[in-house]
């Protein structure tokens, strides 16, 4: 009933291994990652799988990601999105990921619920922009940047599930390295991912 497929009442399946090594699938899964209005903390946490990174690259290959020089997402098995949607460009990137990724995952608090950037949502955008670029001490040539190269900010920062359909959610600010490892190994092994054993956090 929801756009997501959360592990509704999957309590009976409580026996899968926490981050157990995974046998390689028939072919490497193609994975793309990106950060929208995030801080890259989730990508840092991704790297916090430490040495598992070398195991992981035996199982997956990267498409577009801040770690590669592939600029546009192509057909992928899994897309990981960090950050919420704060401007027009985020919308384009998010939609491109949705078009290309069979499974799209909201990674981290900002993608899941807007996160800290959404704390501007109760303020008028004009107030935020004026305060930062026009009316403060220590500014020269105060103006609101308006070049067509710059994506315009949305009036509110949105969680990504309010803009496209999302398949899985992995909360946390950021989710820990072990949580990401558990989630990905579940997914790669064909299990519905679950964050058990203290891996689920919102902070």
């Amino acid at each position: 009933m929801s756009p997501a497929r959360p592990p509704e009442g999957a309590r009976t399946a409580a026996r899968e291994g926490g981050g157990s090594p995974v046998s390689a699938p028939a072919r490497k899964l193609r994975v793309a990652t990106t950060s929208l209005a995030g801080c890259f903390g989730c990508h840092m946490s991704f790297l916090d799988i430490d040495e598992h990174l070398f195991e992981l690259v035996e199982l997956i290959e990267f498409d577009r990601s801040p770690l590669t020089d592939i600029k546009e997402v192509g057909p992928c098995d899994i897309g990981l999105i960090e950050g919420g949607v704060c401007n027009a460009e985020n919308v384009h990137v998010l939609r491109a990921f949705r078009r290309n990724c069979k499974t799209l995952i909201a990674l981290g608090a900002c993608a899941v619920n807007g996160g800290l950037p959404a704390q501007r949502n109760h303020l008028p955008l004009s107030e935020c922009l004026r305060e930062v670029y026009q009316f403060r001490p220590g500014i020269a040539n105060g103006q609101i940047p308006n070049d067509p190269e710059l994506p315009l900010p949305l009036d509110k920062v949105r969680p990504i599930h309010e803009v496209v359909r999302i398949d899985y959610f992995l909360p946390g600010c950021p989710p820990s390295g072990p949580a990401i490892w558990k989630f990905l190994t579940d997914l790669i092994a064909g299990r519905t991912p679950r964050l058990t054993g203290g891996l689920l956090h919102y902070d």
Binding site: R95, P148, L152, R165
Partner: protein
């Protein structure tokens, strides 16, 4: 605390005096205090709190609960357009728009000179003569453009309401079909005399024989309620007449109180006789405050005639009197425990049950809460006997039922039928044609499609408090359901999570569809919300709130489906509009400054 004395101190003192400085009268005091300035300034709340020895926050809490109480300046003329679906069908939106334009104001906002505010309100119970409005609480029906023009002029001239043409305030009964109750021509006191003659136990036995069930919709056996209260410990016992007729589309109580008030009060007194109660309240919805003077007059006459007060009809120990409490725009107070809270001068939040009011009601005392029509019917039983009463109607639904008929028919108004009458028969009688659907029982009731018109009005088939709204083939049942969802969202008391948030979410989904952002996934979410509201809500408001959606999704699903723009997913908001503020700030209008909300080719 920063307290400046409210300006009309002596006037407030007078109001407090009138209500005996009783905290239980808080709502009544606030209603009266508001009449001084048209709203309740902060110092007024502080002053009243002090005088009543109540925490100020509690007074503020009560003032903030009721729609008709204003804690911000609200205009010397406060215009509220009735916004039931029947008003909408009669073009209330256009009329409201016209009045706003003529007076240069936006809905929901006070004009700069403080003269007037215009807003919408839930159904005012004039569905048979809508579109309707309330001006400073006074009801005006049969609105049309001519009348709106005149009203605009009167407001502009700041003409006091008392000088407005009296025909504006005339309200018709529109009784179209009479049966046992509406044909009853009873001399006040006759039913009482008969019941007293039977003795309390005998009278209760007669009630039992009648099989009378509550006309508020739930259908609880009245005699059982009375005897439970009678047997419950605690004194003095209380009889409450629930005249908080807030269900959209119903107006039978308005007519009963307008023309048959003696039957209602006599019914209350009959209940008091059975239960052994000495205190009575009529809880009158704020929308019907225009009835207040005449009701007070009836009470005064009945006191003078010995039908109220000490030793009623000279019966030793039969002491009973009735006070009228006004509501102030809160549908949830129709729920009996919320009504009792409101009577006690509190926010109208439904209580946890058990305990039920019959054992622990008003101020913890055994309390009977009966519907207006139920109480009026007891006069029939007292006069004609329980068995005679039970002889009409169906096996489980004794007697007659008043229906408030409105919507697409030739003759809207009040119809009294023996229970068991078919929908089709009613439609025929009121001159309805090309009927697509009937909403029986109001917003919380049931939506019947054509194939169900042979069903019957009865507790065992289609139960109803009396609302009967007719929609012909030109109507959009999705919009009907959406208007009811708006109603419940507005009227949710906010006490429990599922109703407080769930109604707002449901409204969001219905508006998403209406705004052209619907997707297949939304229907599944709506369905899930419906079930959660039904299962998890604290009271009947929350569990009934999804009814119109459930029914129409089942019976008129294409009305939803034709609104979908995606078979998969669609954002709830307009992405391009979300960039509007930034466009304006940067003076940009290049292609990159826009977004297509509906992504082409991906649904």
């Amino acid at each position: 605390m920063h307290t400046q004395a409210p300006t009309p101190c002596s006037a407030l003192d007078g109001i407090l005096q009138h209500h005996g400085h009783r905290p239980t009268e808080l709502l009544q005091i606030l209603i009266n205090a508001q009449q001084l300035e048209g709203w309740l300034p902060a110092p007024t709340l502080t002053y009243l709190a002090r005088a009543l020895h109540l925490p100020r926050a509690r007074v503020e809490g009560v003032a903030g609960f009721y729609s008709f109480l204003y804690t911000r300046p609200a205009g010397r003329f406060r215009v509220l357009f009735s916004d039931n679906i029947t008003d909408r069908m009669l073009g209330n939106a256009e009329l409201m728009d016209a009045l706003c334009r003529k007076l240069w104001i936006e809905p929901g906002k006070l004009s700069e000179d403080g003269l007037v505010s215009i807003d919408a309100t839930s159904c005012t119970g004039l569905c048979d003569q809508g579109p309707a409005m309330l001006v400073n609480g006074r009801a005006i029906g049969q609105l049309n453009h001519r009348r709106i023009n005149e009203i605009a002029e009167l407001i502009r001239q700041q003409r006091p309401l008392a000088q407005w043409p009296s025909e504006y305030f005339h309200i018709d009964d529109n009784i179209r079909r009479r049966d046992a109750l509406l044909n009853l021509d009873m001399k006040p006191g006759a039913a009482l005399a008969s019941a007293i003659a039977r003795g309390r136990a005998g009278w209760l036995a007669e009630m039992q024989a009648s099989n009378l069930r509550g006309r508020g919709g739930a259908g609880f056996a009245t005699a059982v309620k009375w005897s439970s209260a009678r047997n419950a410990p605690g004194e003095p016992k209380v009889i409450v007449c629930n005249a908080d007729e807030g269900e959209p589309g119903t107006f039978k109580d308005r007519v009963l109180l307008n023309t048959y008030a003696d039957l209602v009060f006599e019914g209350m007194t009959l209940a008091a006789w059975a239960v052994g109660a000495s205190e009575g309240f009529l809880y009158l919805r704020g929308e019907y405050s225009h009835l207040l003077p005449q009701l007070e007059a009836v009470l005064a006459r009945r006191r003078a005639e010995g039908l109220l007060g000490m030793r009623i009809l000279h019966e030793p120990g039969f002491d009973f009197d009735i006070r009228i409490h006004l509501g102030a725009g809160a549908y949830v107070c129709g729920e009996e425990s919320a009504l009792i809270e409101s009577l006690e001068g509190k926010r109208g939040t439904p209580r946890i049950r058990p305990p039920f009011p019959v054992t622990c009601g008003y101020l913890g005392r055994p309390t009977v809460v009966n519907n207006v029509e139920t109480l009026a019917k007891t006069c029939l039983i007292a006069l004609q006997g329980g068995e005679a009463f039970a002889a009409t109607g169906t096996a489980q639904s004794a007697g007659t039922k008043l229906l408030s008929i409105s919507g697409d028919c030739a003759a809207p108004g009040i119809y009294e039928y023996p229970f068991g009458v078919s929908i089709a028969r009613v439609l025929e009688d009121c001159g309805a044609s090309d009927t697509q659907a009937v909403q029986v029982g109001g917003a919380s009731g049931i939506c019947l499609a054509g194939y169900e018109f042979q069903r019957r009005i009865a507790y065992e088939d289609v139960p109803t408090a009396g609302a009967f709204m007719i929609f012909d083939g030109t109507r959009d049942l999705f919009e009907v359901a959406r208007s009811f969802v708006h109603f419940f969202t507005h009227e949710s008391c906010g006490f429990c999570t599922p109703c407080r948030v769930g109604t707002a979410l449901l409204k969001g989904f219905m508006d998403k569809l209406a705004d052209g952002h619907g997707a297949q996934a939304d229907l599944a979410d709506i369905d899930w919300l419906d079930r959660l509201l039904k299962n998890a809500s604290h009271c009947g408001l929350g569990s009934a709130a999804p009814n119109p959606v459930i029914d129409t999704l089942q019976k008129f699903r294409p009305a939803y489906e034709r609104r979908l723009v995606s078979l998969d997913f669609e954002p709830a908001f307009d992405l391009d509009a979300a960039l509007a503020e930034a466009r304006q700030l940067t003076a940009r209008d290049d292609p990159g400054a826009h977004l297509h909300t509906h992504e082409e080719g991906t649904s």
